[in-house]
């Protein structure tokens, strides 16, 4: 996959070349925006990004999948609602629910797609203040045992960009209680709740911990010079976490 050319042609720091055997699929739907950044984040972690197209009917030989942010199908109907029915999504749902437990990360619109596909509970509605919000956001890692969070210390606070209009996470009280009880709240907003999300929830996982979704964008905070405060690289841990998972470290 072509990566976004960077100002000054910055090159990524070299990573252990043995990691390049890990193949991480990055899905592109019509209207996806952040697939190139996600691919670059995968490469920054040392793995090999593999471009996946929404109309593909097979996942090929990828070891994990990232569903990036954007406005798939223009957010028509509901955010993520139409992407859910793309041919590739059926493959992803089956693989995530299979005994192989394919690791799947949904970021922003990708999180919305995962809820519409019923891989994760709840849904997102418009921010309570009705505005598109773009800012650096502090999150607390509430569960560091998932496939995408094991590189973080429990309770660690990380700063990554948040940018959305439909970012208010909602679910009924019973579902929220179950998520809390099962440790499936992966991330919570720290400080002022940016969008009215129930219980300050920024991201959740499925019961097995292989599927994680969150609204903020770790793939925009993976390299010095471009992340929050120009130096923030707190998002890289998502991509190194899944390598830990795939290589059996965690």
């Amino acid at each position: 996959m072509t990566e976004t050319p960077l100002i000054g042609g910055a090159t990524l720091a070299p990573v252990d070349s043995r990691l390049a055997g890990a193949r991480i699929g990055v899905v592109t739907f019509p209207g996806t925006l952040d697939d190139r950044d996600a691919a670059r984040a995968v490469r920054a972690s040392g793995a090999t990004p593999v471009s996946l197209w929404h109309a593909d009917t097979t996942l090929g030989d990828v070891d994990a999948v990232v569903i990036p942010g954007g406005f798939s199908y223009g957010d028509y109907l509901r955010a993520g609602a139409i992407a859910r029915f793309a041919p590739l999504m059926g493959q992803i749902v089956d693989a995530a629910n299979s005994s192989a437990k394919l690791p799947v990360l949904g970021i922003c619109n990708g999180f919305q797609i995962l809820t519409e596909a019923h891989l994760l509970p709840g849904s997102m509605i418009k921010n309570d203040h009705l505005k598109f919000l773009c800012r650096d956001q502090v999150l607390r890692v509430e569960n560091n045992s998932t496939a995408w969070t094991n590189a973080y210390a429990a309770g660690a606070e990380i700063t990554i960009p948040l940018k959305n209009q439909d970012g208010q996470y909602i679910a009924d009280e019973k579902t929220l209680d179950a998520l809390e009880a099962e440790g499936r709240v992966a991330f919570r907003y720290v400080g002022t709740n940016p969008n009215g999300s129930r219980r300050d929830i920024a991201g959740i996982s499925n019961a097995a911990g292989n599927v994680v979704g969150l609204m903020p964008h770790p793939e925009h905070a993976i390299e010095n010079g471009y992340g929050p405060g120009h130096t923030g690289t707190d998002g890289l841990g998502f991509f190194t976490s899944v390598l830990n998972t795939l290589l059996g470290g965690k």
């Binding site: 509901r78 029915f85 809820t115 509605i125 418009k126 009705l130 679910a171 009215g196």
Partner: protein
Amino acid sequence: MPRIVVDVMLKPEILDPQGKAIVGALPRLGFTAFSAVRQGKRFELFVDGEVTEEILAQARNAAETMLSNPVIEDVVNVEVVAD
């Protein structure tokens, strides 16, 4: 051409930020009689020919599985409109 109209509303317990914004703006234009607004969606499904029970069942199924998200929305009406 006959149509099947599907109306979808946010569940009553879900805050509707758009409706809140609308009710806040109404008095500015002199519409002072309304204490709350909730905004929904109307779909019109066009059918070539007669709307059979089978086609209506398909519409209900589509309304529940695609046109609405049962986590946040209710299908409040499915009806055939003949022109």
